[in-house]
Point group: C2
Chain length 186, copies 2
Amino acid sequence: MAKTNKTKYALLGVLSLMSGSGYDIKKFCDSSISHFWNENYGHIYPVLQKMEQEELITKQVEQTEGRPSKNVYSITEKGRKQLEEWLMLPVEPEPFRSELLLKIFWSANIPVENIIEKFQQIKKESEETLSRYLEFENLIKTKNENASKKILVLWLTTLNYGKHSAEAKLKWCEETLKNLEEIKDL
Amino acid sequence: MAKTNKTKYALLGVLSLMSGSGYDIKKFCDSSISHFWNENYGHIYPVLQKMEQEELITKQVEQTEGRPSKNVYSITEKGRKQLEEWLMLPVEPEPFRSELLLKIFWSANIPVENIIEKFQQIKKESEETLSRYLEFENLIKTKNENASKKILVLWLTTLNYGKHSAEAKLKWCEETLKNLEEIKDL
DNA sequence: GTATCCATGTAACCAGTTACATGATTGC
DNA sequence: GCAATCATGTAACTGGTTACATGGATAC
């Protein structure tokens, strides 16, 4: 069984909230789900075309004065149904691949100082990530006061995942740095 | 800049510990780094061939009675050097994509009961993952008593990452379940 | 006699990234 | 005058997965 194309559902998700062009969709993604999902034009445009053929979305060309013409896509009933079917399905376990852990695992011959540097860097990045999440949380809470409680809970849940995993990473770095300092002088 | 082929380094890593065939390498991966890295034959064999051409590894054909012939690969000096160069480099931030979070984000029209079920399942999986890590930790500690302290620390560090993130996921599930129960009857 | 292990490989395919190409408008 | 924004797309490429093909040996 071939891997299902999840980009399709990401785009359908955006179009279930609003009609828009590939460009609009990309912007929306960047400002809302970028902490766990990214898309790039080179993929968005062909997938939109394919979805139009499958009648999951429809296209309307919009001409504005002195602007490049815009292909505005809207989700169809069929599209909405397919999205919901997918959403109802249980989540498949996602294979996890980490370059970081791979490097650590094979670092027996690398100077401990180099490994320590790496962990200091990762620790710093985790701290930054964490504070970005906290900021973003406030933004969501204040900007969406009139959104439904359910949507708010769902959106905060995705954020909360980020917070928990950044915190976990941070703790891991601290523990590891302690362990590495211990073996530094052996 | 094209994405660098990390499978190459995974295979070089294994071959830096031991010479072996594609089959051996796969077995090793499955039993040691499978909690953060996976490889499959369809990728291993062609990459091994390519690496041989680049002189990072050498091949020796081994014939045993009543066995399929075996291509035993060994790492060369050049291969060892390339591996170490890569290991010394700082870790690039890894783009993160989560189908789970994508589904949650778009679940505004999905019954809360369905979402709750998903989280119960994920919680269960996290608990299982966590206990597998704990078992594996004991295994590593007892089985590698005579390994160098450094290697032990490195290996346990990769495991520890898994433990921390499984714990974080568990906590996240519990919090989310509480939140979902609250909005269930709205 | 059946399932699993040992062992290697290819072909088809899909997802996703990067670079390239174009060009007008708006804001500084 | 320059950078950024708006806007769409294609081509080349890479990485990775799955399915297919083969076949003897061993363990139950």
